[in-house]
């Protein structure tokens, strides 16, 4: 009885996590249901009595995405893993001075995120913000960081050489 009463005063069972593979699979299935289905456009080409469907085997048409401006510059994402769909990122904003109206703008996203690596807040290949930092020590910075634009218009700085590898447009010059 006492056990039961104490369970009513606090968590009755320890909080447990969904097993990681299970969580990932559940997430995948949820996103599959949530993502809007793309309608396939089928084009029939009729020429005289001949209907030709031309398929160039092995040819992959790459759509080069044009650089795009960001929707805002006051909060950017710095990724420690080159996966824009993952959660290995932290959001970065800058404190504005009291006399400045509105949030501070970040127009140098790559150096800003590089600084987080240098100070040890971010570690390449590891998710989360590292609490054990030492600004006096030069921590490793990824050799190449690239500034891209997410679908929501936010700037994402990822370890990588070009945004195309993430299927994202590059951030256009100011």
């Amino acid at each position: 009885m006492n056990d039961e009463m104490s369970a009513m005063q606090a968590e009755p069972t320890p909080a447990r996590s969904m097993p990681v593979p299970r969580l990932a699979e559940r997430k995948r299935l949820l996103l599959a249901v949530a993502r809007p289905r793309r309608r396939r456009q089928v084009v029939f080409a009729c020429a005289g009595a001949v209907t030709a469907v031309a398929v160039t085997t092995g040819a992959l048409v790459l759509t080069t995405r044009e650089p795009r401006p960001a929707k805002q510059h006051d909060m950017i994402r710095c990724y420690s893993i080159g996966d824009p769909d993952g959660r290995a990122y932290t959001e970065l904003s800058r404190a504005s001075l009291p006399e400045d109206p509105g949030p501070a703008q970040i127009y140098d996203p790559v150096p800003s995120c590089a600084s987080l690596f240098r100070q040890g807040f971010l570690r390449l290949g590891r998710s989360g913000v590292d609490k054990d930092t030492d600004p006096n020590v030069g921590h490793p910075v990824p050799k190449t960081l690239v500034a891209c634009v997410l679908k929501n218009g936010q700037i994402a700085v990822l370890p990588g050489t070009e945004c195309r590898q993430f299927n994202l447009p590059a951030l256009s010059a100011r």
């Binding site: 009885m1 039961e4 009463m5 369970a7 009513m8 005063q9 606090a10 968590e11 009755p12 069972t13 320890p14 909080a15 447990r16 996590s17 969904m18 097993p19 299970r22 969580l23 699979e25 559940r26 997430k27 299935l29 949820l30 996103l31 249901v33 949530a34 993502r35 909060m75 994402r77 710095c78 824009p84 769909d85 959660r87 990122y89 932290t90 959001e91 970065l92 904003s93 800058r94 404190a95 501070a104 150096p111 800003s112 600084s115 987080l116 807040f121 989360g128 913000v129 997410l150 679908k151 929501n152 218009g153 936010q154």
Partner: protein
Amino acid sequence: MGAIDIREPSDVSLVTAMLEDGTDAFGTLFEQHADAVYNHCFRRTGDWSLAEDLTSVVFLQAWRNRRRIQLVEGSALPWLLAVANNMLRNTTRSVRRHRRLIAKLRPEEAAPDFADEAAERMDDVRTVQRLNETFQKLAVDDQEVISLCVWAGLSYVEAAAALDVPVGTVKSRLARARGRLRRLMETPEPAVLEE
């Protein structure tokens, strides 16, 4: 570089991104709150597999109703737990109503492999089942306020939003629920008459 502020993505930014386009943000919201919803559902049902299914449905409801998600003190969790509570009021009916969705959202592998946690999870099941013998004698309002404020650790303000009642009502309901529970536990089981 000046003063900087770094943080995990907030629910505010995630829900905003969900409105704009974002299934990516939805995935992150799921990762951030799935365990809280999962544990809430388990403690009310005593069934880990059912808790998983209900968690998936709660999040799908969140996606489908993303324009209606209410953030309480910057958190989406109270709203998510409110959706969970709606389903938990009649779990059997909820499962029946959402059976097709549940089938779509359930991984093919039938049962989760808890590996070295299996024994502890079995203990959890026994604990909750024993607890529920008493807990379910409470009115649903009382069950909900205890599960939100005590078990899930929501603040009074968050619980008020989840239950859609004033904060004062949460406080009085919680006090009343605890009193009722105490009395239920003090009531001796009816004696079995022997012939």
